[in-house]
């Protein structure tokens, strides 16, 4: 409401609620609010009546009962005697696993393809255009099904790797063996393991803690080093060379730790009819991961291309005119501006990928929807509770991802006056 000095506001009359623009907005909001509340109470009333008619009550007790089903792919120990709650957590971790792997791989694919699409090489630019258009214009479900069919129909069974003259051979220097049931990859082993911290049924290896600590310390050290270099540059105009100290800070302790623990890769070996020693990744995970990567990668490629094209040519010309070398031009002038354009849509692609991971249903990968919204729902018959819980978890996940990425975005954003 605006009031002007020297002008008397007319006394309030009821008709003002409709005809006076100052009050009309209040009327409108009140009406909308009441209507929405009425709708909500109608829906809730219906739900309660329907539930009571079926003899059900809203309760989440079922989460603490025995689940009684197995989950092939698990990040934390789980067996069928565990509760539905633990099954849900296993499913959530599986969702997070495939989303994280997918986001990393899709970013790599997207950046490479986006840059190559701008390449002056005619053939490569065309090939990349074909890739992007084909993957963007065909449903993700089709890619999942096609890759699944490739894995189940074309890949050899594990025992094809057997014998003196095997029908199939492992790829990448005999380290990875794709089969029609799982993909065998090397696992990590230590000759001198430092023991684990026991946390209930899970344990965290001290080696893992040591690696994380070393990396965090190296980042802090690197930061101090750069601050010092900046100070010297500000004082004398000359920046000391720091890259080899940075490299040493990261590499030396990591190599030392690796040598101390005797960390090495254990390649998968065929024992009997199956691979052992390595990790047998469930093909459902591999298929979903590949499909999400290739599909989202095509979208990210377009975002990257648009971001690079959005930096006007004058910017790089100006940088050259200032005497910056190409590498510095890229890191100081072009990338910061391109990132500003790239990051917001990139965040929404990460969100899309996470939500699309629920298509795990097509390959039978036990993600959150497969456990909580699938087997648990069917076994307990508690549709309402399971769906509410599942949608709540997805919602929180999305809000967390977008919140975290928005913090990152605000750090690279252009600070306008």
């Amino acid at each position: 409401m605006v009031s002007y000095p020297g002008v008397d506001n007319p006394p309030f009359r009821w008709s003002m609620l409709i005809y006076d623009r100052r009050y009309r907005s209040l009327t409108l909001q009140a009406i909308v609010f009441i209507l929405v509340m009425l709708l909500a109470s109608w829906l809730i009333d219906n739900t309660l009546r329907n539930l009571s008619a079926m003899g059900k009550t809203l309760s989440f007790d079922f989460l603490f009962r025995r689940a009684g089903y197995d989950i092939p792919q698990q990040l934390i120990p789980y067996n069928s005697d565990d509760t539905h709650l633990r099954a849900t957590v296993v499913g959530l971790l599986n969702t997070l696993l495939v989303s994280l792997l997918g986001c990393i791989a899709a970013t790599i694919v997207g950046v490479v393809v986006g840059v190559l699409r701008l390449s002056s090489n005619w053939l490569i630019a065309r090939l990349m255009t074909v890739y992007v258009e084909v993957f963007r214009n065909i449903p993700l479900l089709l890619w999942i099904l096609v890759i699944l069919a490739i894995f189940t129909e074309v890949m050899p069974p594990p025992n094809a790797y057997r014998g003196e003259n095997p029908a199939a051979s492992m790829i990448l220097f005999d380290t990875i063996a794709p089969t029609n049931r799982y993909t065998a990859i090397p696992s990590l082993g230590m000759t001198n393991p430092p023991g684990t911290i026991a946390l209930g049924r899970e344990g965290i290896s001290w080696a893992f803690v040591a690696y994380v600590a070393v990396i965090v310390l190296a980042f802090i050290g690197n930061r101090l080093l750069r601050t010092r270099a900046q100070r010297i540059q500000d004082a004398t105009g000359k920046r000391p060379t720091t890259w080899w100290i940075t490299l040493a800070m990261f590499a030396v302790p990591l190599l030392l730790l690796t040598w101390w623990f005797g960390l090495h890769l254990i390649p998968p070996v065929l024992r009997g009819f199956n691979f052992a020693e390595g990790i047998n990744m469930d093909n459902a995970l591999v298929v979903l991961w590949l499909a999400l990567t290739l599909y989202t990668g095509a979208f990210i490629a377009e975002i990257v291309r648009a971001g690079i094209l959005a930096v006007s040519r004058g910017q790089s010309e100006a940088a050259f005119a200032l005497g910056l070398r190409p590498r510095r031009t890229m890191s100081l002038v072009i990338l910061p501006q391109a990132l500003r354009v790239i990051i917001p849509p990139l965040i929404s692609q990460y969100l899309n990928l996470t939500k699309n991971s629920s298509l795990a249903i097509a390959v039978g990968y036990m993600d959150l929807r497969g456990t909580l919204g699938g087997t648990t729902l069917n076994q307990t018959g508690r549709e309402m509770e399971c769906m509410v819980l599942m949608m709540g978890i997805y919602l929180v996940l999305s809000l967390l991802i977008s919140g975290g990425m928005n913090v990152f975005n605000s750090r690279v954003k252009l600070r306008e006056r």
Partner: protein, 483 residues
């Protein structure tokens, strides 16, 4: 030339040399190759890698595609033909599957005698869209109209539609095309009626129920016009009267009219829908409903009224935060809980509602981007002209904001159309998974993995790629600056 030069220079040419052609390496194909494929070590490596990828693709898929069989009665038959023609070790595509089962891919389990109805509905879609999408270029519009009319008629003829249906089709389409050409304003009204016509054609039943629904809009409009001087009261009264009509009067009136003059088509239930008819029905309905809803949501989110803004933000963020699959499961598992006991409604309608809500939330964000991109001066100019909120939005803000957001809007449409394949998980027969599985489950086509995917994938590609190209054309056509 100076005298000294005359002695130092032994020979001076006094005629022009004829212009020589550029060297071989600087012209024609060789120059193009040097510049585009082999301009440096990195590019040479890239070209070789590209050629390698191409070779890999062609050598694995090429023989399989070139050995394709188009006439066979089953997979075993196909394999026999391939072995006979190209040797015992050859593999080949069996596209005979597509030829044999194309009607399932396209129409699902729709009764074969009624195939002309979806065809007519799809043809009429173009007539309904022509005044909206191709209004500016008369030539493009006429081509679209002619193609839609002739093609749907020809397809219906080939599919064996009965004579009266064919005659009705021809009459309807010709009348509509003529209407578009001579009375464009009325054609827009006809486009508004199209959804109900399409529902009638697809699901059949009595036309009177659709007419009764339509009459609700007419009655509401009439009430509003009659009481226009009461402003907001008239709008409220119109809404109330229309809702009362739909709730209490529409059913009996339609039944009474149907008793007098039965305008009936044979009803087709929703579980007979499948294939591309299902995808396109859900897709088109979702597109048509999500755009207006998205605009309303975007305006609500940018509104000055805190309650409305809060509601819009909550709705949009909730929908955008959950996967579409969970919403579809809500439609199939939970929607009956939310409705009064004993009610249940059509699964396709439920899916359309969910898909629409999902797309509308994304659409709202796209349009909000367009609204935010509009210079502030435009809003201030509208205020300065004394326009009220709705006039300002309708005449000044939205036309520009929508134009800016065309690429985003169309990519939301494409995404939604692709997402219609997810309905397989709530038990509907989408063309991609459900139809392919059904066909593979039959004895004769057991083991056909790639052919259905290739066929359905290419249709999706054509439709989605076509939409994105159309959006580019629209952007160019509506561009008003930097000519």
């Amino acid at each position: 030339m100076s005298e000294t030069h005359a002695q130092t220079v032994a020979y001076v040419r006094d005629t022009m040399l004829p212009p020589a052609p550029p060297p071989v390496t600087e012209r024609g194909a060789i120059k193009w190759l040097r510049e585009n494929l082999f301009s440096g070590p990195l590019n040479i490596v890239l070209t070789l890698i590209g050629l390698g990828i191409l070779w890999l693709l062609v050598s694995t898929i090429g023989p399989w595609l070139s050995h394709s069989v188009w006439n066979a009665n089953g997979m075993a038959d196909c394999r026999k033909i391939i072995a006979e023609t190209w040797g015992p070790d050859a593999t080949g595509a069996c596209f005979a599957l597509i030829k044999h089962r194309w009607n399932q891919f396209v129409f699902g389990f729709y009764p074969a005698a009624l195939y002309w109805r979806p065809v007519l509905a799809f043809g009429l879609l173009f007539l309904a869209l022509a005044p909206v999408l191709f209004s500016e270029s008369r030539r493009a519009r006429r081509i679209v109209l002619a193609l839609a009319t002739v093609l749907s008629f020809a397809i219906a003829l080939v599919l064996g539609a009965p004579m009266p249906a064919l005659a009705g089709m021809a009459l309807l389409m010709l009348a509509w095309a003529v209407l578009i050409e001579i009375r464009p304003a009325w054609a827009l009204l006809a486009s508004l009626v199209y959804p109900l016509l399409a529902v009638w054609l697809l699901w059949g039943g009595s036309l009177w129920s659709e007419i009764a629904v339509l009459a609700g809009f007419g009655i509401g409009f009439g009430v509003w016009r009659a009481g226009a001087r009461f402003g907001l009261f008239a709008v409220a009264a119109a809404a109330v009267v229309a809702v009362l009509w739909w709730l209490f009067l529409a059913g009996p009136v339609a039944a009474a009219l149907a008793g007098m003059l039965p305008l009936r088509l044979q009803p087709v239930s929703s579980d007979q829908f499948g294939g591309f008819v299902l995808s396109i029905t859900i897709g088109v309905a979702g597109i048509a409903l999500s755009l207006p809803l998205g605009i309303v949501l975007a305006l609500a989110r940018r509104s000055d009224l805190p309650v409305i803004k809060l509601l819009a933000v909550m709705f949009i963020e909730f929908i955008r935060g959950v996967p579409l699959i969970t919403l579809l499961f809500v439609a199939s598992l939970l929607l009956n809980y939310f409705l009064p006991p004993g009610t249940s409604f059509d699964i396709i309608l439920r899916v359309i509602i969910m898909v629409t809500l999902f797309a509308a939330a994304y659409m709202a964000e796209v349009i909000r981007g367009g609204l935010a991109a509009l210079p502030k001066g435009q809003y201030e100019a509208a205020d300065a002209l004394g326009l009220d909120y709705w006039k300002a939005q309708r005449l000044i803000v939205l036309p520009q904001a929508l134009k800016i957001s065309i690429p985003g809007i169309v990519s939301t449409f494409i995404g939604m159309f692709k997402d219609t394949t997810l309905v397989v998980f709530v038990g509907l027969f989408d063309p991609l998974k459900a139809m392919a599985d059904t066909i593979r489950a039959s004895f004769e086509w057991k083991g056909a993995y790639w052919e259905p995917y290739i066929f359905v994938g290419s249709i999706f590609f054509i439709l989605c790629f076509g939409m994105s190209r159309y959006s580019m054309y629209l952007e160019r056509r509506l561009k008003r600056d930097h000519r």
